[in-house]
């Protein structure tokens, strides 16, 4: 089951969902609109799964920053988001999808666990300007089925910065 907007608000107020800061006007009928943090990683052109990603860190200026096609950027949600009771799914908004901006690259499913700012896998079809703190995507919350007593060892959830892939650590030797 997916939580309605009113249910998300209720759970945020009760503390079983974290969305901080939380703005009532960002609640949708069945999701919550998250915003874009100014920190952005511009990823190097060619990647190797076995090596640590090289990138350039920039701060998106108030007047905006143009994302270029054929490039990968790692952004960050402005909000700390998470829940140990409901499964998060982060996606884009239809208004931004209509401008050709991917916010995730087929990895929209979050894990039950700690709350943190989420890294966004940003990629554009056409050149697109983005602004700091713009309303950029949406997160939905889902009721899980089954025992929920494990500790998810999250490679990424300890930091509130955009974090590059740690896949290279899975390769031995």
């Amino acid at each position: 089951m997916i939580l309605t907007g009113q249910e998300i608000t209720k759970k945020v107020n009760e503390g079983s969902i974290t969305i901080a800061p939380f703005y009532e006007d960002s609640v949708n009928p069945n999701s919550y609109n998250y915003h874009l943090s100014p920190e952005l990683l511009v990823i190097e052109k060619s990647l190797d799964s076995r090596r640590e990603t090289k990138y350039k860190k920039i701060v998106i200026p108030e007047e905006g920053f143009v994302l270029e096609p054929h490039k990968l950027y790692l952004g960050l949600t402005k909000e700390i988001i998470g829940s140990t009771k409901y499964v998060t799914s982060l996606i884009g908004r239809s208004s931004i999808g209509r401008l050709g901006l991917f916010l995730q690259i087929t990895a929209d499913l979050g894990q039950l666990g700690n709350s943190h700012k989420w890294t966004l896998e940003m990629h554009v079809v056409k050149r697109l300007k983005v602004y700091p703190n713009m309303r950029i995507g949406q997160v939905s919350f889902w009721v899980p089925f089954g025992e929920n007593d494990y500790e998810y060892i999250d490679l990424y959830n300890s930091s509130n910065n955009p974090i590059v892939s740690k896949l290279y650590k899975e390769f031995k030797g």
Binding site: P29, N30, G92, L99, G100, R135, V143
Partner: protein, 173 residues
């Protein structure tokens, strides 16, 4: 919980789900296949800006098909009017169109409860691919919500053609 095909049919028959026109031959074990409408919109500006109204041109898909080029974004529309006041729709491509490298949305698969429209598709292809009006292009699933329902009443309600991003309205007072 996701509705099975039989349940989708039941809810269409009792009016809780709108799919117009509805044809049993499009019903899948747990989704419904929708078709591509004949209108397409393409942005004409080189750089898109979410704070501005981005101009578009409208194209009618000719009988011989329209060749979608990579590096371009095409706003299409679903031929069927769809939605529900009781279930949350999620749309996606079909495995058969995905195998052609065609995206039908750009990380915005979640539809608001109460959005009953000819939803806009965000068409983008990895390799050049020809599409035809009326072709079966994607599928919609329906999910059970939890919590009090507040219906969608946003800027895309009532759209009968592909609708370009209204994100500039985020910046109007």
């Amino acid at each position: 919980m996701i509705l099975t095909g039989h349940e989708i049919e039941k809810q269409v028959n009792n009016g809780s789900i709108v799919i117009e026109p509805f044809d049993l031959s499009n019903l899948q074990p747990n989704s419904y296949d929708f078709h591509l409408g004949k209108y397409i919109k393409v942005y004409t500006n080189k750089i898109l800006d979410p704070k501005k109204k981005n101009p578009v041109k409208e194209i009618e898909i000719p009988n011989e098909g329209l060749l979608l080029k990579p590096d371009e974004l095409y706003l299409g529309m679903i031929e069927e009017k769809m939605g529900s006041k009781y279930y949350v729709p999620i749309l996606r491509g079909r495995s058969s169109t995905g195998r052609l490298g065609l995206f039908v949305h750009i990380t915005a698969d979640l539809i608001d409860i109460g959005s009953i429209n000819n939803w806009t598709l965000m068409l983008h292809s990895v390799v050049p691919v020809k599409v035809y009006a009326g072709m079966k292009i994607g599928q919609v699933t329906f999910w059970v919500p939890k919590g009090k329902i507040e219906l969608y009443n946003g800027e895309y309600q009532g759209s009968l053609k592909p609708m370009e991003s209204q994100s500039f309205k985020d910046y109007q007072d």
